[in-house]
C-alpha cells in the first residue's frame, strides 16, 4: 500500500495478522473474566475489599486511560487553537485514540462500579460537592464532543458512497443528505466543540487529581498535595505529545510505513517544556511541603516515588533536551514510552501505592481477573482502533511544511490559566490536633475515711435482705435476653461491710431522685435504710439527667466494676484448692472469685420452642434428638464430654488415682446399694441421659443418642421406662415435651434422678428426697418454696457451663466444678460484729457449715442406712418398720431405714480413698468403699457431717475382692448367686474363683442439702458441754446487761419441740457433745483444752 497519501485514507493492509490473533485471544480471556464478574459479582474476579475499594481498574482503566487520551485535546489545541496547520497530520489518529480511549474508560467503569445498570444516576442525582460527580459529567460531555469531532471523518468516508445493504438501500439518499448537512454545519462550528473539548479536558484531567484529596488521611504525603489536580493537569498536558508520538511510531511500524518524523520532531520540542513544567511544579511542591523527608525512608511508597520521578519524568525530560533524541525515531520513541510509563506509574502510585487506609486487615494486589479484564479492555481498544483505521480515513495525511516557530509561552498559556487558578484556591492540608483546653482536670484523690461500724445502730449489715430478684419491667422493655439476676444481697453486704459502697446516694426527701452522697455513718445517724437503686436509676438516657445511668446500666456498671477488679482466678491444681466441698486455709479467698461474664449472674432466656421444633406425626425419641441437634450441635458436642453422659471422668480428689480420667460408675466403682453396672446395663442405664446403653458396646461418641428431654422437659410428663436402657415410656407425647423445653428444674434433676437414687425415694442420699420438690423453709432454706424459703433452682448453686455442672457427690469420683457454701457465704459467713459472730466465724476454719446447719438429715423421709444382700432370695412376706418401709425384699435382701438421723462426723479435706473394682477388700474388718480423707492434724481438713450406709455384699472368697453380680436378668431371675457372680464378673472382664462370701462394707455420703433455718442450727451448748452451765460465756467474758449468756448458748435446734412436732428425734433430746470430740481426735472439748492448732486465749486453764 502506498504510504504517502497526501490526505488521510483508510488503511488497506491485510487485516488478520498474527498480532491481531493475539489481540483476539486476549480479548476473549478478558471477556470470559468480565462474564464472571457480571454473573458472580466483583468479588468473584477482583481482590478489592473493604480496605481497598479502588484497585487496578480505577488506577489503570480509568485514571491512566484518561491521562493517555490527552493526545486528543493537546493536539487539538496546537493545531486549531494555535493554528499550527502542520500538525493536522497527527490530529486524526489522536482524535481516534481519544474517542476510543474515553469509550473504554466508560467500559472499564461499567466493570468497576457495582450497580452499572444505574450508571445514568448522576444525570438525575447531582452532588455538586463531589469531585467524582464533576469528573463524570465532564467525561460524559467530552465523550460526546469527541464523537461529534469524529463525524467529519465519517462523513468524508461515506459521502457520495452511502450504500446501505438490502431494504435499507432506500434510505441511501436521505443518509447521504444528513451526512452532507452535518458535515457542512459542523465544518462551520467545529471550533466550538474543539475549544469545549479542551476546556472539558482541562477540567476533568485536573479533577481526577482532586479525587484523592478527600482521602487526606489515607494518601501518602509524597503524593498528597492540594495541588494534586494541577499536577494531574500538567502531567496530562505533558503526556499528550509523547502519546501521539508513541502511537504514531507504533502505527507506522506496524503498517510498514516510515515514522512521520516531519511532524513528530517539531512536536517533540514541546515535550521537554511540558515535562519540565510538570517536574518543576512537582519538585517545588515537595520542597514547599517538606515531604522530601520521606524520600529515603525505604518504604515501598518512597521507592515507588523515586522510580516514578527518576525514570518516568527526569530521564525522558533529560533525553528530550537533546536534538539528536528528537530527530531519531528510535530514541524519540524510547523517551516517549518512558514518559507514558511514568504517567501510568504515577496514576497507579496515586490511586494504589500511596493509598494506606488506617486499618489494613487484608492488603491488596490485583487479582488475575482484574489484570486480564484490564488487558482485555486494552486489547479490544487496539483491535477497534485497527478496525477503524481500516474503515475510516484516519492515517496517512501528509504533514505540511513547518513554517513558523512556536513561542513556548503560547504553548503554556492555557496551562498557566489553570495553574494560577488552582494556586489561588487550593489550601495546604495542614491539620492541627484538637486542644481541649476547657477541661483541664485536676487530679484529686477522693479519700474515703473509714468509718467505725457499730452493730447496735441501724442500719447494720444484719438488716440486709438475703436475696433480691433484680427483676424490672423497665429493663425488660429495653432488652429481655436474660433472666433476672438473683442477687445475693446479704453475701455482698457481708463482704463489703458498708452499704454506701453500692447505695452511694440517698434521697433527701420523698421523690428526690438526685439525693446526697452518703456514708455508713450518715445512714446510722439518720437511722435509715439506704434507698434502692430504682429510686434514682430509671429510664436510660433521660435527656434531663443524661449523666444518670438507667437501671440496667447502673446494675451492670456497679456490679461489674467491682467484679472486674477482682477477677476470677484459675483453680489451682491439687486436692485442696480444687476441692468441691472443702475450703481449707490454702483455698482462695472469695474476693478473688467474682465472676464478670453474663452467664455467671443470669441464665439466658430459653426461647419458645413451639415453632422452632420441626416435628410432626408420631416420632421416636431419636428423631427428637436429631431435631435438637439441627440447631444445638455445639451443645451436643459438649454433652459428649460430661460425666452425666460418660458416667466417668477425671477425679482429681481420688487419692492415688488423681490423674485418671476413667473412674466412674460406668465401669469401675462399686457401691453397697445395687453394687455395679456390669451385666446390669438396661436397668441401671434407665437413668442415663442417653438412649440405648444396653451393653458395654454403647457408642459414647454418638451425639444422636443423647436424651435431651430428660433434663429439659418442663411439662413433667417425660418419664424413662425402668428397664429400657434409657428410652422413654411409650405413652410420652414427645412432640409436646420437645416444644416445651426449658431449663432443668427440680422435677428433671430431682424427680427424674437424684431424689430417687438407688431405685427409690431417699434411698441413697441422706439429704435429697422427693420432699424437696415442694419443700418448706424448714426442709431446706435454699430450696424451700414456702415459709420464706428462697426457692433456688438446682443450677443456682450447681453452676453449669457447657453442660458441665459444678458440685459433686463424694460417692462418685467424677467432678466437673468446684462448689461450696462459702461461694456465697464467704469464709466469714456469720454476718455481724458481735462476739458471737466472731466466735462462730472462727469455727469456719475447722468445721464445715453443714456440720452445724444440717444437724439432722433425712428429716421427713426415711433413708436406707443398712442393706444386707446375704439375706436375699427368701420367699417371705416383706415386714414393715415404724416408718412403714419394707425391711425385706426377696430380690434385695434385708435393710434398715432411718429418719431424722444425727449425722456421723468426720475430718474431711476433700479427697477420698476409693475402692476401685479389683482392689483387695479389708480382710480384717469393714471395707470402706469411699473414705473421706483428713484428720485432726490436717489443716485443710474440717469436720463434716456424713450419712453412713453399711452393707453386706458379695465378695470373692478366694481372690478377696468385691464381686459385680449380674442382678437384672441374672440373680433376680434364677436366684443363683454363683451364676450371677460368674456372669457379672465376666461382663466386668474380671476373674471369679467360684467361691463367694458376703462381707461388710461401708459408704459415706456427704450432706449438703436439707439445710435447716439458722435459728435451728446446732447451738453452742449442743457440742460444748461446759457452756450448758452457769456462768456460760462468763468464764471468759464479762457480764453485759444487754446480753443473756444462757439464752445465747442455747440458741439453736430444740429437739424437744421437734419431737413434739412428730419428728423422730426423741433420743436426741438432751444430748450433749453432739459431734463427739473424742471420736474426732480431741482430748476433750476444745474450749477447755484449746484448739487443734491453738492454745486458749488469755492462757486460761480449764476447770477440772
Amino acid at each position: 500500500m502506498n504510504a504517502h497519501h497526501d490526505v488521510a485514507a483508510p488503511v488497506e493492509d491485510k487485516f488478520l495478522t498474527p498480532g491481531v490473533m493475539i489481540l483476539l485471544a486476549l480479548m476473549f480471556v478478558g471477556f470470559a473474566f468480565a462474564l464472571v464478574r457480571f454473573i458472580a459479582g466483583i468479588g468473584a474476579v477482583a481482590n478489592l475489599n473493604n480496605q481497598f475499594p479502588w484497585g487496578l481498574w480505577v488506577a489503570v482503566d480509568v485514571a491512566t486511560g484518561v491521562a493517555l487520551a490527552a493526545g486528543g485535546f493537546t493536539t487539538g489545541a496546537i493545531a486549531y487553537v494555535f493554528n499550527r496547520d502542520q500538525y493536522h497530520a497527527v490530529i486524526r489518529p489522536a482524535l481516534l485514540t481519544a474517542m476510543l480511549g474515553y469509550t473504554f474508560v466508560v467500559l472499564g467503569l461499567l466493570v468497576d462500579i457495582g450497580r452499572y445498570w444505574n450508571i445514568s444516576s448522576p444525570i438525575f442525582n447531582h452532588n455538586g460537592n463531589s469531585v467524582l460527580f464533576e469528573v463524570a459529567i465532564c467525561v460524559m460531555i467530552y465523550l460526546h464532543v469527541l464523537y461529534i469531532e469524529f463525524i467529519p471523518i465519517v462523513a468524508e468516508r461515506f459521502k457520495g458512497r452511502v450504500d446501505l445493504p438490502g431494504p435499507l438501500a432506500k434510505l441511501n439518499n436521505q443518509t447521504e443528505k444528513v451526512l452532507d448537512i452535518a458535515d457542512k454545519i459542523l465544518g462551520k462550528i467545529m471550533f466550538v466543540f474543539i475549544i469545549a473539548g479542551i476546556v472539558l479536558s482541562c477540567l476533568h484531567q485536573s479533577s481526577l487529581g482532586s479525587l484523592m484529596l478527600i482521602a487526606s488521611y489515607k494518601v501518602h504525603p509524597l503524593w498528597y498535595t492540594p495541588i494534586l489536580p494541577l499536577l494531574f493537569l500538567l502531567s496530562a498536558f505533558a503526556a499528550g505529545y509523547p502519546m501521539v508520538t508513541f502511537e504514531s511510531i507504533v502505527v507506522s511500524t506496524s503498517f510498514g510505513r516510515k515514522p512521520e518524523m516531519k511532524v513528530l520532531t517539531p512536536l517533540a520540542k514541546y515535550m521537554p517544556i511540558m515535562m519540565g513544567l510538570y517536574l518543576a511544579v512537582k519538585i517545588g511542591d515537595m520542597i514547599v511541603r517538606g515531604t522530601y523527608v520521606y524520600l529515603l525512608d525505604g518504604t515501598v511508597q518512597s521507592i515507588c516515588f523515586i522510580v516514578e520521578m527518576l525514570f518516568g519524568v527526569m530521564l525522558p525530560f533529560t533525553l528530550l533536551l537533546f536534538r539528536k533524541v528528537r530527530h531519531s525515531p528510535g530514541l524519540l520513541f524510547f523517551a516517549s514510552t518512558l514518559f507514558i510509563l511514568g504517567i501510568l506509574f504515577n496514576r497507579i502510585n496515586v490511586f494504589l501505592v500511596s493509598y494506606t487506609p488506617p486499618y489494613i486487615i487484608k492488603s491488596y494486589f490485583p487479582a488475575v481477573g482484574e489484570i486480564f479484564i484490564t488487558i482485555g479492555l486494552i486489547s479490544t481498544l487496539m483491535f477497534v482502533y485497527r478496525v477503524c483505521v481500516h474503515i475510516f480515513p484516519v492515517l496517512g495525511e501528509e504533514p505540511k511544511e513547518i513554517t513558523k516557530k512556536m513561542s513556548a509561552t503560547a504553548a503554556l498559556s492555557c496551562a498557566l490559566v489553570l495553574t494560577l487558578g488552582f494556586n489561588g484556591s487550593a489550601q495546604a492540608a495542614s491539620v492541627k490536633t484538637p486542644q481541649n483546653s476547657e477541661d483541664s482536670v485536676i487530679a484529686v484523690t477522693s479519700g474515703k475515711v473509714p468509718m467505725p461500724v457499730f452493730e447496735t445502730r441501724t442500719p447494720s449489715i444484719k438488716d440486709a435482705p438475703k436475696v433480691i430478684d433484680l427483676s424490672s419491667d423497665l429493663i425488660k422493655t429495653y432488652s429481655d435476653i436474660y433472666e433476672p439476676v438473683r442477687f445475693m444481697h446479704s453475701k455482698h453486704a457481708n463482704v463489703l461491710n458498708d452499704c454506701s459502697i453500692c447505695h452511694h446516694r440517698i434521697a433527701r426527701e420523698e421523690g428526690d431522685t438526685y439525693g446526697e452522697p452518703v456514708t455508713m455513718a450518715r445512714l446510722q445517724e439518720l437511722e435509715k435504710l439506704p434507698d434502692g437503686c430504682s429510686v434514682c436509676h430509671q429510664k436510660p438516657f433521660d435527656a434531663k439527667q443524661l449523666h444518670v445511668p438507667g437501671l440496667k446500666g447502673s446494675y451492670h456498671q456497679l456490679c461489674m466494676d467491682c467484679h472486674r477488679e477482682a477477677e476470677q482466678v484459675a483453680h489451682r491444681r491439687g486436692p485442696v484448692a480444687y476441692s468441691a466441698m472443702v475450703r481449707g486455709p490454702v483455698a482462695h479467698t472469695l474476693s478473688s472469685r467474682a465472676p464478670s461474664d453474663c452467664l455467671s449472674c443470669h441464665p439466658k432466656k430459653v426461647p419458645d420452642h413451639k415453632n422452632l421444633v420441626k416435628l410432626e406425626g408420631t416420632v421416636d425419641a431419636l428423631a427428637v434428638t436429631q431435631n435438637c441437634l439441627s440447631c444445638h450441635e455445639k451443645e451436643g458436642k459438649a454433652i459428649l464430654k460430661t460425666s452425666h453422659w460418660n458416667w466417668h471422668g477425671s477425679s482429681p480428689y481420688t487419692v492415688g488415682h488423681e490423674s485418671r480420667v476413667d473412674l466412674g460408675k460406668a465401669h469401675n466403682t462399686i457401691n453397697n446399694f445395687c453394687i455395679n453396672i456390669n451385666g446390669n446395663w438396661p436397668r441401671c442405664t434407665s437413668c442415663h441421659i442417653g438412649y440405648g446403653w444396653k451393653d458395654k458396646n454403647f457408642d459414647f461418641t454418638d451425639m444422636t443418642k443423647i436424651d435431651c428431654l430428660v433434663c429439659h422437659d418442663t411439662t413433667k410428663t417425660y418419664k424413662k421406662a425402668p428397664p429400657a436402657a434409657g428410652f422413654p415410656e411409650k405413652n410420652v407425647d414427645l412432640i409436646r415435651v420437645a416444644q416445651n423445653v426449658g431449663r432443668p428444674t427440680r422435677d428433671t434433676c430431682g424427680m427424674n434422678c437424684h431424689f430417687v437414687g438407688g431405685g427409690g425415694d431417699a434411698v441413697k442420699h441422706g439429704d435429697m428426697n422427693r420432699g424437696l420438690l415442694d419443700a418448706s423453709k424448714n426442709s431446706d432454706v435454699h430450696m424451700g418454696i414456702s415459709d420464706g424459703g428462697m426457692d433456688f433452682k438446682c443450677q443456682e448453686c450447681h453452676r453449669t457451663r457447657n453442660h458441665l455442672i459444678a458440685g459433686r457427690s463424694i460417692s462418685v469420683p467424677a467432678a466437673e466444678g468446684d462448689l461450696s457454701c462459702e461461694y456465697c457465704h464467704t469464709d466469714k459467713p456469720h454476718i455481724g460484729r458481735e462476739l458471737i459472730d466472731h466466735h462462730l466465724n472462727k469455727h469456719s476454719k475447722h468445721i464445715a457449715c453443714q456440720t452445724c446447719h444440717i444437724p439432722i438429715y433425712s428429716k421427713n423421709k426415711p433413708t436406707k442406712v443398712f442393706w444386707d444382700w446375704s439375706e436375699a432370695g427368701k420367699d417371705i412376706k416383706p415386714p414393715k418398720d415404724k416408718y412403714g418401709m419394707p425391711t425385706y425384699l426377696k430380690k434385695k435382701g434385708a435393710f434398715k431405714w432411718e429418719e431424722a438421723v444425727k449425722p456421723s462426723y468426720m475430718w474431711y479435706n476433700g479427697t477420698v480413698k476409693r475402692y476401685i473394682l479389683g482392689d483387695r477388700i479389708n480382710t480384717n474388718g469393714v471395707t470402706e468403699l469411699n473414705r473421706p480423707m483428713g484428720d485432726q492434724h490436717d489443716p485443710s481438713a474440717r469436720i463434716y457431717p456424713f450419712k453412713i450406709h453399711r452393707g453386706k455384699q458379695i465378695s470373692d472368697a478366694v481372690n478377696k475382692c468385691l464381686i459385680t453380680p449380674q442382678l437384672f436378668g441374672g440373680y433376680w431371675k434364677h436366684w443363683d448367686w454363683d451364676r450371677a457372680c460368674r456372669d457379672g464378673m465376666e461382663a466386668a472382664g474380671m476373674s471369679y474363683s467360684g467361691e463367694y462370701e458376703f462381707v461388710e462394707t461401708v459408704m459415706y455420703w456427704g450432706l449438703t442439702h436439707e439445710v435447716i433455718p439458722k435459728e435451728d442450727a446446732l447451738s453452742c451448748a449442743e457440742c460444748h458441754t461446759p457452756l450448758t452451765k452457769a456462768p456460760y460465756c462468763g468464764s471468759c467474758h464479762q457480764e453485759r446487761p444487754e446480753v443473756d449468756f444462757s439464752t445465747l448458748v442455747h440458741k439453736g435446734i430444740d429437739f424437744k419441740s421437734l419431737a413434739a412436732q412428730g419428728q423422730d428425734v426423741s433420743e436426741l433430746v438432751g444430748k450433749t457433745d453432739y459431734i463427739d470430740f473424742k471420736a474426732l481426735g480431741y482430748a476433750g472439748d476444745p474450749i477447755e483444752i484449746g484448739g487443734r492448732f491453738t492454745k486458749l486465749p488469755l492462757g486460761l486453764a480449764t476447770k477440772k
Binding site: 486549531y80 476546556v199 486487615i361 484556591s425 445511668p549 438507667g550 456498671q557
Partner: protein, 308 residues
C-alpha cells in the same frame, strides 16, 4: 487595532489574572455545615465497655444481617482486630494499651466499639457522586441505595474506613454501614446497640448535650480519662463521640486532624465552578487565542503572498 504577538499575550495574562482574583475571594471557601442543635449522637465511654458483643448481636438482629459463623457469645474473636463490614455494622475490638518494655500487659484490655461516626461534615457525603449518602438534620448519615451506582468513592473518602461493600452481590450490591438506626430514632426509639448494652457504655442523646456530659464525666472522675473527647474536633467533629482512659491512638483510633477533608475538595471544586467562571474564562481565552492566531496566520499568508 494591530494585535501583535506580544500584546496578545498581555491580554491573555490579564485574563488569567482575573481568574486568580475571582478564585481568591474568601466567599469561595466552602463553609462547613454547623452542628444542628437537634442532632443526636452517642457518647461511647470505652472505660465502661466490657466487650460482651451484645451490641454486635443486637445490630445484627435489627438489620437482619448475615449470621456470623461463630456465635456472638464467642469472645475469642475479639483477639483479632476487626472492622465493620457488610455483615456487621459494628464491631467491638480488644486492645492491650499497656506494655512494660516488650511485654504486653494483657490483664487490662480496653474494649472499643466501632461503627460509623456519623461525622458532622462527612467525607462520604461530600464524595458521593449522586448524593446517595446524606447527613440528616437529626445526626444520622443515611444511605439511599436507589441512587447509588456502586463506585465506592465513599469508601475511599471515609477517614474511619467505615462503609463496606457487598463485593459478592452481582446485581444489587449495596454500600453498608451503620444507619444510626435512623428509622427507629425517628420514631423516638433507641439504636439497637445502645438499647441492649448492659453497661450503658453508649449514651444516646443530643450531640451538644453529650459533649457536656463528656466534660462532666472528666471533671467528676479526675484522672480517669485522657483529656480528649475523640470526635469532638476530629475531621470537623462527629456525632458519635468517645471517652477513653488511654490515648486514642493506642486503642485503635486513627490520628486525625481537626479539618474535615471535604473543606479542601469542596473549596477547590467551588472555586472552579462558582458561576462557571473558570471554565468560561478558559473558554473565552482559548477562543481569543484561536481568533488571534488565526488573524496572525492570515496576515502572514497575505505578507507571503505580497512578497511572492
Amino acid at each position: 487595532m494591530d494585535i501583535n504577538r506580544r500584546n496578545f499575550f498581555k491580554i491573555a495574562g490579564a485574563a488569567a489574572a482575573s481568574t486568580i482574583a475571582v478564585s481568591e475571594k474568601p466567599a469561595h471557601a466552602a463553609e462547613p455545615p454547623a452542628i444542628n442543635a437537634d442532632a443526636y449522637g452517642c457518647l461511647i465511654d470505652t472505660t465502661l465497655c466490657v466487650g460482651c458483643r451484645k451490641c454486635e448481636e443486637a445490630c445484627n438482629e435489627r438489620h437482619s444481617l448475615a449470621k456470623p459463623e461463630q456465635s456472638f457469645e464467642e469472645l475469642s474473636v475479639l483477639e483479632n482486630e476487626r472492622r465493620p463490614d457488610e455483615h456487621s455494622y459494628t464491631v467491638v475490638n480488644k486492645y492491650y494499651p499497656h506494655s512494660i518494655g516488650a511485654l504486653t500487659w494483657r490483664k487490662r484490655p480496653t474494649f472499643v466499639k466501632f461503627q460509623c461516626m456519623h461525622c458532622n461534615d462527612p467525607s462520604c457525603v461530600s464524595a458521593c457522586i449522586v448524593g446517595a449518602l446524606v447527613k440528616q438534620p437529626d445526626g444520622a448519615v443515611t444511605y439511599d441505595v436507589s441512587k447509588c451506582i456502586g463506585c465506592r468513592y465513599c469508601m475511599v473518602a471515609c477517614p474511619f474506613q467505615i462503609p463496606a461493600y457487598e463485593y459478592h452481590n452481582a446485581l444489587t450490591p449495596e454500600v453498608r454501614k451503620c444507619t444510626f438506626c435512623f428509622n427507629y430514632v425517628k420514631n423516638g426509639q433507641l439504636p439497637a446497640c445502645v438499647q441492649v448494652c448492659p453497661r450503658e457504655a453508649i449514651t444516646f442523646g443530643k450531640q451538644l448535650e453529650l459533649l457536656k456530659l463528656a466534660r462532666w464525666k472528666m471533671k467528676r472522675h479526675p484522672g480517669k480519662y485522657v483529656d480528649h473527647i475523640y470526635g469532638e474536633y476530629e475531621v470537623g467533629g462527629t456525632s458519635w463521640l468517645y471517652l477513653g482512659s488511654e490515648p486514642f491512638e493506642k486503642i485503635g483510633f486513627p490520628k486525625l486532624g481537626v479539618k474535615a477533608p471535604p473543606r479542601l475538595t469542596e473549596t477547590i471544586q467551588h472555586s472552579l465552578f462558582q458561576y462557571f467562571a473558570a471554565p468560561i474564562i478558559l473558554y473565552t481565552t482559548l477562543g481569543g487565542i484561536m481568533w488571534g492566531t488565526g488573524m496572525l496566520k492570515e496576515k502572514d499568508a497575505k505578507k507571503e503572498n505580497k512578497t511572492d
